[in-house]
């Protein structure tokens, strides 16, 4: 059967590669801008079709595997490349293909003001990203996984820094790359260690070994922890979560694709993909749960105080990723993976919706918005759908997956993390609807410029890029159809999956208590109500609410000083130490050498007075030498 042997999955992968190669090599085409975009979108559409077909062909236990030798060693194969298509990877592939296509279509409208060469470059990056992400999803072994893992990181770097003339963007790109690279150091070490430990990179072979109990447990925890470190960096777990909010300097469609739906979930996907390995090391899994729950809470708190709409969404992404991590840590990676899929859909929706708002009002800041629902009702509807999904209300996409996660953590026996996650559910609904009310329904604050400044949150993002086009004073309006279409597709998908899962409850892997669903939904509803009371009705004063949480509020404004710690570590420890080494090299290692040669030069200066330049002195010297020689020969 054609579809069942992985060829379709491969085709989905290669279509994006083709688009990238065409755009990378055919520079004149790339510089045309829009034609380049059409090439890329065409390939993305084809890729989506292939991905869907491949997904349909790989339900249940069907697995297909295509590999080619990539790296030989001692005449044998050391590493391969290829595709490993099964139920999980193909559904993930479909998600990637879908979001990639929608984002590319959306970008046509969003970046319509971009110069043609830049637009071409953008689509080249997009194609490269989609290719790499699919390669990661379909990776049959750790080597390909790592390769694609790094490549998506590269695309993230390139796309965050897409508007590289802006210092903030250039800086954010570097920060994102370095912080994730820190985690990747762990991943790479983990891969090397596990290769030595099991003798293979191949996931399928390793899984068989794990199933047979053929993997020695001694030292395995270190290895899985190292692999987990990679996920910590990529999926923005504490303390390496700090890059993701800054990554919002990139164009909003990029944030939707890379920093919400796909790339940042790679860490979760990795852990899900290797859950049979992690199952052997429960101690590491416990770390995963605790870090996950803590990060979820931390970032939910941070999301509550942001004024930049994209930063709210960024912290919410961190929080949701941590949710997934917690479920995987509890031993039920299926729940986490399900949330990954639904989250991919509705978070892309939210980001693209936020992009529509930014496109309309030329600002990222909530105080600059207000009552937008009248001007752009369609955007308001789809954004609210997204917010409801994120809050996890029934009939919406996030509902079931969130319940599953809460149930999973409880079933795993982690009571305290469970409590934290319930609190996060409440906070999530609160901050999300804070955004909804402030942006779409509540009246804009009177002197909002002061409010924005008082919030202290940095708010330089692509809004300023848009504002630079000189259309700052015009009325907000509904975005063009190329942007609306993806929004509606995602909104409908959110509702459809929500309804589907509310009605057709899948068989859970664990027993959940009956009170779980009311608690989950209740906390979400409570959050929505609090937001409504505070920001729509203004029954509760936002400032006094903040004052009630004094230290936490102030800490949150300073992002709990974590960024500052990293900044210090970079400036003082790394750069300082490098200067010390540089000094040692120049003044000690090389200095000693220079002293030696200076002495030599000095000695030459001193000795050259022996050279009188008079020929007879030399003859005299020769004669004396002859004399000495004769003496030595005769009396030795």
């Amino acid at each position: 059967m054609m579809a069942g042997d992985g060829t379709l999955a491969l085709a989905a992968l290669l279509l994006h590669a083709t688009a990238f190669l065409v755009l990378a090599i055919a520079a004149p085409l790339r510089r045309l801008g829009r034609p380049a975009a059409y090439v890329s979108i065409l390939c993305a559409a084809g890729s989506l079709a292939a991905a869907v077909l491949s997904w349909r062909a790989h339900t249940g236990e069907a697995i297909s595997r295509l590999v080619w030798t990539w790296l030989p060693s001692e005449g044998q194969t050391l590493a391969t490349v290829g595709v490993l298509a099964d139920a999980d990877s193909t559904v993930m592939l479909t998600l990637v293909a879908l979001v990639a296509l929608l984002v590319q279509v959306y970008s046509l409208g969003y970046l319509s003001d971009e110069r043609a060469p830049s637009l071409g470059r953008y689509y080249a990056y997009q194609s490269l990203f989609a290719f790499s992400m699919m390669g990661l999803v379909l990776a049959p072994n750790f080597v390909q996984l790592f390769i694609c893992w790094e490549l998506v990181g590269l695309c993230s770097y390139l796309l965050i820094g897409f508007w590289y003339e802006r210092p903030a963007a250039a800086r954010a790109a570097l920060k994102a790359f370095w912080i994730t690279k820190t985690g990747d150091v762990g991943l790479l070490i983990g891969i090397v260690l596990i290769w030595r430990h099991t003798g293979t990179f191949d996931l399928t072979e390793m899984r068989v070994l794990a199933g047979n109990g053929a993997i020695p447990l001694a030292g395995l925890s270190v290895m899985t922890f190292c692999i987990y470190l990679g996920a910590v960096g990529k999926s923005a777990q504490f303390p390496l979560h700090i890059w993701l909010p800054d990554a919002m300097e990139g164009p909003t469609p990029v944030s939707a694709l890379i920093h919400a739906a796909t790339m940042v979930t790679a860490g979760v996907y990795l852990l899900h993909r290797t859950d049979w390995l992690f199952a052997l090391t429960p101690d590491v899994l416990a770390i995963v749960v605790w870090v996950g729950a803590f990060t979820a809470l931390l970032s939910a708190v941070l999301a509550c105080v942001q004024n930049d709409i994209k930063r709210v969404l960024a912290y919410s992404t961190i929080s949701q990723l941590s949710y997934m991590m917690a479920a995987i840590g509890a031993g039920f990676s299926g729940a986490g993976f399900l949330h990954l899929l639904t989250h991919g859909v509705f978070k892309a929706l939210l980001f693209l919706g936020a992009g529509a708002i930014i496109h309309a009002v030329h600002s990222n800041d909530l105080p600059d918005m207000g009552r937008l629902a009248r001007r752009m009702p369609q955007t308001a509807i789809v954004f609210t759908v997204g917010a409801l999904s994120l809050a996890g209300l029934p009939l919406f996409a996030g509902f079931l997956s969130k319940e599953e996660i809460l149930g999973a953590v409880l079933a795993g026996g982690f009571a305290a993390p469970f409590a934290m996650l319930v609190l996060v559910a409440f906070l999530t609904a609160f901050y999300m609807f804070r955004v909804v009310f402030l942006a779409f329904f509540a009246a804009p604050p009177a002197g909002h410029a002061g409010a924005a400044a008082a919030s202290g949150a940095p708010h330089v993002a692509d809004a300023s890029h848009h504002a630079s086009h000189g259309a700052a004073a015009h009325e907000p309006h509904e975005p063009p159809s190329s942007m609306l279409l993806p929004l509606w597709v995602l909104a409908l998908l959110s509702v459809a999956t929500g309804v589907f899962f509310t009605v057709v409850h899948p068989e859970p892997e664990f027993e959940s208590p009956a009170w779980l669903m009311p608690v989950g939904v209740g906390s979400a509803v409570a959050g929505i109500l609090l937001a409504w009371a505070t920001y729509q009705r203004r029954a509760i004063d936002a400032a006094s609410l903040a004052a009630a949480f004094g230290p936490i509020y102030r800490g949150a404004l300073a992002r709990f000083w974590i960024d500052a710690v990293f900044e210090r570590a970079y400036r003082l420890a790394l750069l300082g130490f490098s200067r010390l080494v540089g000094w040692i090299d120049r003044y000690l290692v090389d200095g000693v050498l220079n002293v030696l040669s200076a002495w030599t030069v000095q000695a030459g200066d001193d000795l050259r007075t022996m050279q009188t330049g008079r020929v007879q002195d030399y003859v005299y010297g020769i004669a004396v030498g002859l004399l000495v020689l004769l003496l030595w020969v005769q009396f030795n």
């Binding site: 030798t69 990539w70 790296l71 030989p72 060693s73 001692e74 005449g75 050391l78 080597v143 790592f146 390769i147 694609c148 790094e150 490549l151 590269l154 770097y157 820094g161 590289y164 003339e165 802006r166 210092p167 250039a170 800086r171 790109a173 570097l174 790359f177 370095w178 690279k181 820190t182 150091v185 790479l188 070490i189 090397v192 260690l193 290769w195 030595r196 790394l574 750069l575 130490f577 490098s578 200067r579 080494v581 540089g582 000094w583 090299d585 120049r586 003044y587 290692v589 090389d590 200095g591 000693v592 050498l593 220079n594 002293v595 040669s597 200076a598 030069v601 000095q602």
Partner: protein, 511 residues
């Protein structure tokens, strides 16, 4: 003659074109350049031909040519390649071919410049293809000596700021001038070659029979005590050229002062001569000592990696950054070799190749930037990306390869080395190596970000800078293409290399 002496053609074609340039191209700069392109082009075609037709199944040394030079001492011209040297010859061809284009705009005495460059290249090819230790040593000297003139005449001097505790000594020796750099480099390398000569002669004497042939010496099993000190002599001698710590300080000064093509060739190929010498001569002839001294070689390799990366981070001069990154990357080469594992050794050889290409690319780019902006001060430049997108892109790709990003050649090399390190007897080597790769990502991207990305500089000197043009594109295009090609399909390189490292290792650690 039953077949073409392809290795000799490859080796001597640049020399022949150097002669043509000296005698027939006086005051005709374009003819000088096209003659160079022709000469190096012949070598390039020959080396690609050798590389493709190398019989991987049969392995061993192929394309053998031999004739006796001094029969009474057993010196002969013996040329042959195995997988490693075929790859190295290919590297040399690519770098010099690109280098000819990269120095297209040399104005001063271009005739002599190209002639010397081509003579130097002949020396490099000679070292890679010859198997007679005496002739190898001769070629080695041919490769080293023209460097003095090339740097001393066509080099550039930097700002001299002698200060600190040994400031007086630095002022005295003239730190920062091109003459200083040329002299330092030459003295260092000659110091090293003295060690090599001693080692070669010691082996010659120890064999008892009159031969310098690598193939015959390889059959010997020398006395362990002799092996031990001869290996050290080779390690120090060749290692200086490979930039081993703490004998690396000629490299930053030399590379910073050298003209573009010379930096390319020097960092790209000549430093590989050192590593190649350690692997081929040191490990190939002295198996027991290689095993005994692996701890030293590997540990110094680790120091190189981390120390070089940190030093690079501390520099403010662009060329110094690249030069120190070479020191760091050569550490990976030495570390890979010291692991004495198939993957590590493959990684080591591959890193020689990858680093050669990427550092060649870097120096070509630095040369271009300097030519256009007349500055090498990193923190004075900013936002060049909008003005020279091509150069910026190439620099970023080179940087990504340097930090070991997959899909570039740098990743494959480092990854194999890491695997080797963890399977060696000294597992902890893995950690400095990985940390070095991380540090590289910090300093390379910091530099790339500072110079090319970010807001456009307000400095009036840095307005309206041109992108690369004409022949310069040829240089950049070739190098970027190779870098990516070998990163995406590493088996092109690993295949032949693997056939050579396997037998070498079996001699080292037995069956």
């Amino acid at each position: 003659m039953d077949r073409l002496p392809i290795l000799s053609i490859m080796t001597w074609a640049p020399f022949a074109s150097a002669l043509v340039i000296m005698f027939f191209a006086r005051r005709r700069p374009l003819l000088v350049r096209w003659t160079s392109v022709a000469g190096t082009g012949v070598s390039l075609v020959a080396s690609i031909w050798v590389y493709w037709t190398y019989d991987r199944v049969r392995a061993g040394f192929q394309f053998q040519e031999e004739f006796s030079l001094v029969p009474s001492l057993g010196i002969s011209y013996l040329a042959a390649v195995d997988g490693i040297s075929a790859l190295m010859a290919l590297l040399t061809s690519i770098i010099i071919f690109a280098g000819v284009f990269a120095s297209w705009t040399t104005k001063q005495r271009s005739q002599e410049f190209y002639a010397l460059l081509l003579v130097l290249v002949t020396g490099v090819y000679g070292v890679f293809v010859t198997l007679d230790l005496f002739v190898l040593f001769l070629f080695y000297e041919i490769a080293v000596l023209p460097m003095y003139l090339l740097i001393g005449i066509w080099g550039s001097s930097g700002d001299v700021r002698p200060q600190g505790i040994f400031g007086w000594a630095m002022g005295r020796t003239g730190v920062g001038t091109k003459e200083y750099a040329a002299m330092k480099l030459t003295l260092y390398l000659l110091f090293g070659s003295a060690f090599i000569l001693v080692g070669v002669l010691a082996l010659f004497v120890a064999t008892g029979s009159r031969t310098f042939s690598f193939l015959e010496l390889q059959q010997m099993r020398f006395d362990p005590a002799l092996q031990s000190w001869v290996f050290l002599a080779f390690y120090v001698g060749f290692g200086i050229l490979a930039g081993i710590w703490p004998l690396h300080t000629w490299s930053p000064d030399g590379h910073a002062s050298a003209p573009t093509a010379v930096s390319m060739l020097h960092a790209g190929v000549l430093m590989k001569l050192g590593a190649y010498g350690v692997v081929r001569v040191g490990m190939g002839l002295l198996p027991d000592a290689a095993v005994d001294w692996a701890w030293l070689v590997g540990t110094i390799g680790c120091i190189n990696i981390v120390y070089g990366a940190l030093s690079a981070m501390a520099q403010t001069d662009l060329k110094y950054v690249i030069a120190y990154s070479s020191v760091s990357h050569m550490g990976v080469v030495m570390l890979g070799a010291a692991t004495l594992t198939p993957n590590g050794l493959n990684g080591s050889v591959f890193q020689m190749f990858a680093h050669g290409i990427m550092t060649g690319l870097f120096f070509a780019l630095v040369g271009l930037v300097y030519e256009k902006a007349h500055s090498r001060e990193i923190f004075k430049m900013s936002g060049f990306g909008t003005m020279m997108p091509g150069i910026a892109t190439a620099f970023t790709i080179g940087g990504l390869s340097s930090l070991g990003l997959p899909a570039t050649a740098g990743f494959v090399a480092e990854f194999l080395t890491f695997l080797g390190a963890w399977t060696s007897d000294y597992r902890w080597w893995l950690f400095p190596a990985v940390i070095g790769a991380f540090l590289t990502s910090v300093y390379v991207l910091r530099v790339a970000g500072q110079i090319f990305w970010g807001p456009k500089s307000a400095d009036p000197h840095f307005q309206d800078l041109a992108d690369a043009q004409g022949p310069e594109w040829a240089a950049l295009g070739i190098l970027v293409f190779v870098l990516v090609l070998f990163g995406v399909a590493p088996s092109i390189a690993i295949g032949p290399v693997d056939t050579a490292t396997g037998p070498l290792l079996r001699r080292l650690i037995g069956q």
